[in-house]
Symmetry: C2
């Protein structure tokens, strides 16, 4: 923390980014103001975003990224009854928050890149602990069996192994990057997060906050297949959804038609939502107002 942004300011930007993302409506496939899932509802996302505030603030001052993910995951479920809401988003938010606390906004990207490279074995261990706590679809066992470093999916039983092999959280993200677009951000210098931020800021200049969020989400979805869908179903399904999003962008289908179809088919592009949260955070820190 060196005086560019206060921890309180950055924590509010991060909480607001999570709130604006879930509030973007209609947001095909994911929870929005009009769509709940059976066991997770819109308000669970709102409560989680507010509830984790102290961990977001702490991230500016201290704490490894793995440790912060563990604390945020635990705090989130104290405030709501819908289970895991923001695990993927934390993977992006914590390095970005730390980077924003370290220097001016024009160095945000460089600082984020350095921060993820400096993650440690401890971060990896805590990341896996957090991961097994929330049971997200971060990796399927087959992904990991194919991986010659011998990590297993749950992380349980492999924690000592991580230490022995000197595997850091950055290493885990590098291994996961092939099949996970959130992990890929760590390796790719947060390319798509900053791309989302640019789109959001540019659209906000001429449109409402909601339009900026929804249209950016749609363009992101049309640009690359969502890996959350690929892991839950398969890559064909993810590419199919990407094609539908492109149909909406090119006006062959309405936003509402896509929203209805994905909701009925229970397809949720969860990783694209995580990138959107990162993009909204960067946009807010860069001075965008709601």
């Amino acid at each position: 923390m060196n005086g560019y942004f206060t921890p309180s300011y950055l924590a509010r930007c991060a909480a607001l980014a999570m709130i604006l993302e879930v509030s973007g409506t209609p947001k095909p496939g994911n929870i929005d103001r009009d769509h709940d899932y059976v066991s997770t509802k819109y308000e669970d996302f709102l409560a989680s975003a507010v509830g984790v505030y102290p961990v977001l603030e702490k991230a500016c001052l201290e704490g490894g990224i793995g440790q912060l993910m563990l604390e945020a995951s635990a705090e989130s479920v104290r405030w709501q009854t819908g289970g895991n809401t923001h695990f993927g988003a934390y993977i992006l938010l914590f390095p970005l928050i730390k980077a924003a606390a370290e220097g001016p906004v024009d160095q945000l990207r460089t600082n984020s890149i350095n921060i993820v490279k400096e993650t440690t074995v401890d971060d990896a261990v805590n990341f896996y602990r957090a991961f097994s706590m929330v049971e997200v679809r971060m990796k399927k066992p087959e992904d990991l069996e194919a991986d010659d470093r011998g990590l297993d999916a749950s992380g349980t039983g492999s924690l000592e192994e991580l230490g022995r092999r000197g595997v850091t959280m950055f290493d885990i993200m590098q291994i996961s990057s092939k099949n996970d677009m959130v992990a890929r951000e760590w390796v790719d210098g947060f390319r798509r997060s900053f791309e989302a931020a640019d789109k959001i800021q540019s659209k906000r200049k001429t449109g409402t906050m909601n339009d900026a969020t929804v249209l950016t989400y749609l363009e992101m979805l049309a640009a690359e297949p969502d890996t959350f869908i690929a892991k839950k179903y398969d890559m064909d399904k993810a590419v199919y959804v990407q094609g539908l999003a492109l149909d909406v962008v090119e006006r062959r289908m309405t936003l509402k038609e896509l929203s209805d179809r994905l909701f009925i088919e229970k397809i949720n592009p969860g990783s694209t939502a995580d990138l959107m949260i990162a993009g909204l955070f960067i946009a807010l820190v860069s001075g965008m107002r709601v």
Copy 2:
């Protein structure tokens, strides 16, 4: 602050109360997920609720209620472009937050009552400063001309007069209580705020968070005429809306019909929304989960 709740916990409960209130949908007449006003939108309320967090937290530790209202009003508009969003709510939230920071939840009401009675001339001066900053419909000039203490509506020019006459913020609320149901809470021992909290908690046991919010709002609106409507239009209009709300409670009209009608007629029961925020805060502090 004596260890019952941390400032961070109480600030999160207060921010979440504001977020849950505005998210209750359909909420006849007021901004909700599906209804914006021309110059104020749903997202402005979300951003304001998150933006004032540090002032909510500070309230647990220090600061007179008037001073806190001034700081919260200034901070709110740094985060959104919709103008005044939560002024009325602050009048209730700050004493409740301070009371919750002081002792256990079963003493919340007694402590709140004592806290408002202990407000000072400084609080009154700062309250009027905040009031003139946000230009809310708290008092019309005619209300105040009828008042023999010689306060004027804008507060400007009367600040010295307040000091000379030893008028405290509690005195102002007492004077306003005849025509303002938010001010009346200070005099009435937060009767309706706690009533709202009981209703919300009871409805949450068997229904969704949204149902608990919307149905309680409706019952509150049906129980007493909303004084924000009375001041914007007149008491007849407020009683008319109360009657419509009763029609919905007794199933002679649907919630959606009432919502559409009030929105078209531009009638917003803003004071009932303020009471709801107080009720949601009390419910959250009492252990309700989203």
